[in-house]
Amino acid sequence: MKTNSEFLSGMAAGIPIGLGYLSVSFGFGIAAVRLGISVLSAVVISLTNLTSAGQAQGIDIIAAGGTLIEMALVQLVINLRYALMAISLSQNLDEGFTLRHRFIAAYGITDEIFALCSTRKKPVTPGYMYGIIVVSSFGWTFGTLLGAAAGEILPPELISAMGIMLYGMFIAIIIPPAAEKRSILLVVVFASGLSVMCRYLLPFISGGFTVIICGIAASLFGALLFPIKEEAKE
């Protein structure tokens, strides 16, 4: 009963992610087919990878006939932030999160799912995380299918406007705690400023690395200046 309601509340929480993914992966589907990748391959890539930046880079390597070493290294670098998120998330897991559940749920550690789970007030249960993952993964895979099979049908203005959805969701996650807690606000401002600097002053650093560098630097800044003393998560 409890597991069931956790799964359902996970699914409900996952709806904005699923919708956001649907629109973003739609674009991925279009891009993949344009590079000569079949609809089936594009769908399998989305279902098995569940990540945006890594996949976008991955299909470029496939289209260019790159080596497998290059593929592995690029995925490692772009997706390294997930390792950081996994460690952070591991601190807020329910006791029922056994090793078997961790093996399965690890598949679903994405920027957005991480954001939802790590800002949850209660410990994250396997059911809650599975609920989010099912909805998100469906949106991501189905959006890829739609984009790959029928991408050219929608008006281009609409497809472009959908590109902002996931970022809008990030803002909705960050702003309320930042408005309440000054330390979070300062960490957010620090990370944003550093990210802008990286983009314009050090443009040769890839997007994945920028996120890692800024994420670590801003969190160090926060941990040094505003340590969180209490045991309980706020």
Binding site: T48, A86, I87, A161, M169, A172, A218, I228
Partner: protein, 101 residues
């Protein structure tokens, strides 16, 4: 080379990056410093992913900025994620019809 080998490598590497730390970090971290560091990670990472990328997310700076403003305002009033995300998108879509944008 078969595309399926590429996909296998892609998916395998991506899964291992997520799985290894997730499965094997089972202890609660005691150090206040490390706990604080991990506490700030989601906010720092999300902020770095959003800024400045959101301003390029629709391919047009003006529609992106309008969508961002809508998202900031609604998020400040704690509206649900889906409302904020859709409003950002609809605002960007609406603004794209203004002549000259």
């Amino acid at each position: 080379m078969s595309i399926w080998i590429y996909i296998l490598v892609m998916a395998g590497v991506t899964y291992l990056i997520r799985m290894i730390p997730f499965a094997f970090f089972t202890k609660k971290i005691k150090s206040v410093f490390l706990r604080s560091f991990l506490y700030y990670i989601p906010y720092a990472v999300l902020a770095a992913m959003t800024i400045p990328a959101i301003f390029f997310s629709t391919g047009n700076f003006i529609t992106s900025a309008a969508g961002t403003a809508a998202a900031l305002i609604l998020a400040y009033f704690k509206l649900p994620l889906i409302v904020v995300a859709l409003a950002a998108s609809l605002t960007a879509y609406g603004v794209s019809f203004i002549p000259g944008v």
